[in-house]
Amino acid sequence: MPDSAIIIPSVLNGLTTGGLYALVALGLTLIYGVLHIINFAHGALLMLGLYAVYFLNVQFGIDPYVALLIVPPAMFALGYALQRGIIGRASHGRDENILLVTLGLSIIIENLSLYFFRSDTRTVDTPYSFDVVEIFGAFLPYPKVVAFFGALITAALLWLLMSHTDLGRAIRALAKERKGAQLVGINAEHVFAMSFGLGVACLGVAACLLLPSYYVNPQVGGGFVLIAFTIVVLGGMGSFVGALIGGLIIGVVEAMGGLFLGESLGQLGIFLIFILVLIFRPTGLFGAKA
């Protein structure tokens, strides 16, 4: 039984970790919400984003937070190009093809990274790497607190974009009724690519906020993508609020699981939630009914 004094710090830490998870899940849920496909290349693209942040820091001395001005736009362009140039073309409009194409992309990206970057684990040392914020006696690492608020801001910006812009309206229209949206003049290919690009840009944001407290190697995406899938299922596929809340819940469950069940069994709770949601609420906490 853990010391009661560490429960509150552990919950707070779980919330900040959950913020990081939510950031990764936001892009996944956006892509699912519009394209109705699970992007198997999500982890590999996160890894690319982390490498971009790493090399900007090491080669040019650019701070990971300053890299927010560079990496997310670059990742958006990459996502747009991938959807327009490869995924859209190779899928021939069939969802099962898209699954296979994204799976293939993830294998190619990971192996190319292994070839070019080697398997070394790399980290960046920033002036704030060891800084902490003290809340209720808990020392929360500064980079994780920043990531937590970054997740809140990113979710809010996505919500604003989806509900108050023409692009958001076009995305929602396509997600709801593809043919109808096309009939009123929405360029489906362009909007699909914009959605994929935005999803990948979210990974760019996640990469900038994650690297100060984590590491990068060619396999790093795998550790996050399974959690992100669980969050998307828990929060409701296509729901930003769901991804945010789901991320925070998973972060806290993981922390509590580790504390009460032991660190090596801590993730049991996450997958228990995954199974329970699928049985009792398949649409997730905030997902629309099919």
């Binding site: 853990p2 010391d3 004094a5 560490i6 710090p9 552990s10 830490n13 970790t17 292994l114 080697r118 398997s119 070394d120 684990t121 790399r122 980290t123 960046v124 040392d125 790497s129 060891f130 902490v132 020392f139 690492p141 407290s213 984590y214 590491y215 190697n217 060619p218 396999q219 550790g223 996050f224 993981e254 922390a255 580790g258 504390l259 032991g262 660190e263 090596s264 801590g266 993730q267």
Partner: protein, 414 residues
């Protein structure tokens, strides 16, 4: 006219009888005189290198492969296997992906492809699987890093380990800790062990838990964690609440880095971080990237003899090739060199001869603090870990004294 023609023909070369005689002689020389050279060129010695170059321990696996390839390059540059007419060593590469079953499958493929010896497989679990599979065909197998004692306790006549197992490491870690602690007036009385969940971490933790009370250090908790673990705050909080004098990590590189960072972030004050086979504690990359977090950390681990010219020259060459000189590099290098020395002495690729040569090896050109090789049931009895400590950004050997390059600083100041 005909004679003239004949004369002309003969004047430009040799007569028919001479030609036939020379041809026969050349044929005879070809059969008896040249084959040694031809065989050496046509039949290189094939050494299989099976490492996890992808998957969760890919960094360590890649380092092993790089070290093994350096050894092969050096041996070939020095003339190959001289007792076999300068036969070149040819590497056969395979990726176990961090999975024992895939490692074993790669052994099968290699034996079918005519491999003459194997160096594998970095982790204990993979090494157990690869050596067992190799034993079916009696293929000589050298374990480069795997530390589980089960690897050399199964009576496999083809399996050899050049480095120490975790039994020896734990025994020396405890003995050296006792000496270090007593020299400081025995300030450390409690410890917490944080270990990864596979065979290496679990086995090491079990041995330490049994042996530490014998030197007056109570183990207040043992925390096992998964690979990968994304966040170590919970573990750091538990350490903080139990206030151990010593923190003893036994885990792989990625997790070690995160743990060390988190300990610093959570402002945990202990008398010492005393790793046993710590994945990053004796790693120059970690020390280079996080000098503050690494400073003063002690480790009982594989390390080269800092007073050996051979070891220093190899480190220089590896770093010139762009490698971070981690223990994986020099252990895999030595595993290949040890196998090559046995093939040299066997003078053939006969499996029994190579295994017998490894069993009777007294090889000492390794630059490790081991002395001449002495195999007992496949284990090099002279193999031992040393204690290192990160001091001013460099990894110094602090114990045993005969290999020490610096004095121990304990208790540490965090």
């Amino acid at each position: 006219m005909a004679d003239t023609k004949t004369t002309k023909t003969n004047s430009s070369g040799i007569r028919r009888r001479e030609f036939l005689a020379t041809g026969a002689a050349a044929l005879a020389v070809g059969v008896t005189g040249f084959p040694a050279v031809l065989r050496a060129q046509a039949a290189p010695v094939k050494i299989g290198l099976i490492h996890p170059v992808s998957g969760f321990i890919a960094f360590s696996g890649s380092q092993c492969r790089a070290g093994a390839e350096l050894a092969i390059a050096d041996i070939n540059a020095a003339g190959g296997i001289k007792s076999m007419g300068g036969a070149m060593i040819e590497a056969m590469l395979a990726d176990s992906q961090g999975k024992p079953d895939i490692g074993a499958a790669e052994v099968t493929k290699m034996t079918e492809a005519g491999v003459h010896g194997l160096v594998a497989g970095y982790s204990s679990a993979i090494s157990l699987a690869t050596s067992q599979e190799a034993a079916k065909t009696n293929t000589p197998h050298v374990v480069d890093v795997g530390v589980s004692d089960s690897i050399v306790s199964r009576g496999l006549s083809n399996t050899f380990r050049f480095g120490p197992g975790y039994g020896k490491v734990a025994e020396m870690a405890v003995a050296n800790l006792d000496t270090i602690n007593k020299a400081a007036g025995s300030p450390a009385k409690t410890a917490m062990i944080v270990h990864e969940e596979s065979l290496f971490g679990t086995g090491t933790a079990e041995l330490l838990s049994k042996q530490l009370p014998g030197i007056g250090i109570e183990v207040v908790d043992v925390i096992k964690h998964a690979n990968p673990t994304r966040d170590f705050t919970n573990i750091a909080l538990q350490i903080k609440s139990k206030k151990p004098d010593l923190i003893i990590p036994a885990n792989y590189y990625n997790e070690y880095v995160l743990l060390a960072r988190t300990l610093r972030q959570q402002k945990i004050e202990a008398m010492g971080i005393y790793s046993v086979l710590g994945g990053a504690a004796s790693n120059l990359q970690f020390v280079g990237e996080f000098p503050e977090a690494a400073e003063m950390i002690m480790d009982c681990n594989h390390w080269y003899d800092p007073k050996s010219d051979v070891a220093l020259a190899r480190r220089k060459a590896a770093e010139a090739a762009g490698l971070v000189y981690t223990y994986e590099v020099f252990l895999a290098y030595n595993a290949v060199a040890f196998l090559a020395d046995a093939i040299e002495r066997a003078g053939s690729t006969d499996q029994d001869a190579i295994n017998a040569a490894m069993a009777s090896s007294t090889w000492d050109n390794h630059g490790m603090p081991y002395g001449p090789t002495k195999m007992v049931n496949g284990q090099n009895e002279g193999a031992q870990p040393v204690n290192t400590q990160v001091q001013k950004g460099e990894i110094e050997v602090i114990y045993p004294e005969e290999f020490a390059s610096a004095e121990t600083v304990f208790p540490m100041t965090m």
